[in-house]
């Protein structure tokens, strides 16, 4: 790195005071060299894990792996920490294959490489196996409009079912501080007090079958992105930038024309924070309704003005005075598949029933999407099962 010496102003790392600083940490505004950053980054995650008692020795943990930057870095760091600090965890990679040609198959390649690189067993659960339908087939049947509802509902269950197949105790996801701050804002913007009260918890679903936790809750997105970069800087000459921690950052070209101008896409984006296409709305590329993009952009503008604001939003989210009587609807069990559900049938079963009967609009959120005739059809064919009506306008999660 010849650049080191020709620059007049070389700033040194505030920690070791020896090496050249490579990064300004957003959390503290301190300048730090890559070696110290690397160490500190991992140590802070370790502290979060210890302080919040995220894991117990002997637990089986699934890492929700999408092939994107957050989950890739999470898989790497978690396997490192597990080794270094003897957590005694059995780690697995868990991926969902929605069956979207050109998007998921590529990102799954990344996850498969991660499997080899980190030596973590990988489980891929596909919509095809779980539900008998790929997203491509669903899109073919129902058209462009409501596919996000399917994708989101199926995906959420798929992670849980995959976790059940792996017999894991917990699922960890790569949500970072920026994501959580954004979720806090979005819940305020759409008036969802129940989700507002839960979205900053580091562990959720402890009362459910498989709890989920977010070890990156306090980790800035900037550091997650730069982490693999810094780690591989020596290899820059070979341009193998993300060689060791390679992650997938290509947009979906196959589906992209689908996402112009449909407000339900936006709806999906809100209801399903884990939607695989979320990031394209974040990037504002496909946002037909700019609102979500605005929120992300707002977060980034805020971070530039006051990096601490991201952690402050999370703090606010934790401190909001929300009365504990604000309850989510009581959870029961789906009569058909046994998955948790506040209704007789879980949402996935309702959607599936519609798909299999050739009435794909059955169970999709808002009734205004249905014209009168179609509604009648639905009533006639399903009248005995008594699921219409009750389902309209309510999504159970």
């Amino acid at each position: 790195m010849e650049g080191n010496h020709k620059k007049a102003r070389v700033r040194l790392c505030y920690l070791c005071n020896q090496r050249r600083a490579a990064l300004k940490r957003p959390k503290t505004l301190e300048q730090i060299c890559r070696e110290c950053f690397y160490e500190l980054f991992e140590e802070e995650i370790h502290q979060v894990i210890v302080k919040n008692e995220l894991f117990k020795p002997g637990e089986r943990i699934a890492i929700g792996a999408s092939g994107g930057k957050d989950s890739t870095v999470l898989a790497y760091v978690l396997s490192e920490l597990n080794r270094r600090h003897n957590y005694g965890l059995d780690l697995f990679l868990l991926s969902v294959d929605e069956g979207i040609t050109g998007y998921r198959d590529d990102s799954l390649e990344t996850v498969k490489r991660n499997e080899l690189q980190y030596g973590l067993p990988l489980k891929i659960v596909s919509y095809k196996d779980l539900y008998g339908w790929t997203m491509d087939e669903i899109v073919k049947t129902i058209g462009l409009k409501n596919n996000c509802t399917f994708c989101g509902v199926f995906r959420r269950q798929a992670l849980d079912r995959g976790a059940a197949l792996l017999k894991v105790d917990k699922v960890v996801t790569g949500h970072n501080a920026d994501d959580i701050a954004e979720t806090v804002l979005l819940n305020i913007l759409r008036g969802d007090i129940a989700r507002l009260s839960r979205c900053t918890s580091i562990t959720t679903g402890e009362d459910g079958p498989i709890p989920r936790c977010k070890p990156f809750k306090y980790t800035y997105e900037k550091e997650i992105v730069i982490y693999p970069s810094v780690e591989n800087l020596n290899k820059m000459v070979t341009y193998a930038y993300f060689k060791r921690l390679d992650y997938f950052s290509t947009e979906c070209t196959t589906l992209s024309p689908l996402f112009h101008g449909y407000s339900l896409v936006l709806f999906c984006y809100f209801i399903f924070p884990s939607c695989l296409l979320r990031d394209y709305f974040v990037a504002g590329i496909y946002s037909p309704n700019a609102y979500r993009g605005f929120a992300r952009e707002f977060i980034k503008d805020l971070e530039r003005m006051r990096p601490r604001a991201i952690l402050d939003i999370i703090k606010s989210g934790e401190d909001f005075r929300i009365s504990t009587s604000t309850k989510m609807p009581e959870q029961g069990i789906c009569e058909r598949c046994g998955y948790i559900s506040s209704q007789k049938w879980c949402k996935a079963c309702v959607l599936l029933e519609g798909l299999n009967k050739g009435l794909p609009k059955l169970g999709i959120g808002r009734s205004r999407g249905l014209d009168n005739n179609h509604r009648k059809d639905v009533k006639q064919s399903n009248g005995t099962k008594n699921i219409e009506g009750k389902q309209c306008g309510s999504l159970d999660f």
Binding site: M1, E2, G3, N4, K6, K7, R9, R11, R20, A21, A22, L23, K24, Q31, R34, S66, G67, G68, K69, D70, S71, S107, G174, H175, N176, D178, D179, E221, K222, I224, V225, I226, S229, V230, L233, M236, Y239, Y241, F242, Y247, F248, S249, T250, E251, R278, D279, V282, A283, G284, I285, R296, E297, K300, D301, E303, R304
Partner: protein, 99 residues
């Protein structure tokens, strides 16, 4: 001035999906110096083929785009005022991509 520019995290899609560009940028001022500010203008004119708003906002990069100059966070070297020299490597990574 010979520079190596690299685009990542989805930004490469804005310039024909090419990640690495070896470019020759000629400073158009008399003092023969080039700063990041000048480079951004040059990139916007010469490399970005679509949606420039994904890359830039006002006269800087869009918030959420990381810039590394010779492996170093540009926030440490003065951001837009960072001076560039022959054979420098500048990396742009969007943080707004997949999780």
């Amino acid at each position: 001035m010979q520079l190596t520019l690299e685009f990542g995290g989805g930004l490469e899609l804005l310039c024909d999906s090419v990640k690495i560009h070896d470019v020759n940028v000629i400073p158009n001022n008399e003092v023969d110096k080039l700063t990041m500010k000048d480079l951004l203008v040059w990139v916007r004119t010469n490399l970005i083929k679509e949606r420039p708003e994904m890359f830039m906002k006002d006269d800087s990069v869009r918030p959420g785009v990381l810039v590394l100059v010779n492996d170093c966070d540009w926030e440490l070297s003065g951001q837009l005022d960072t001076p560039l020299e022959e054979k420098d490597v500048v990396v742009f990574i969007s943080t707004l991509h997949g999780g």
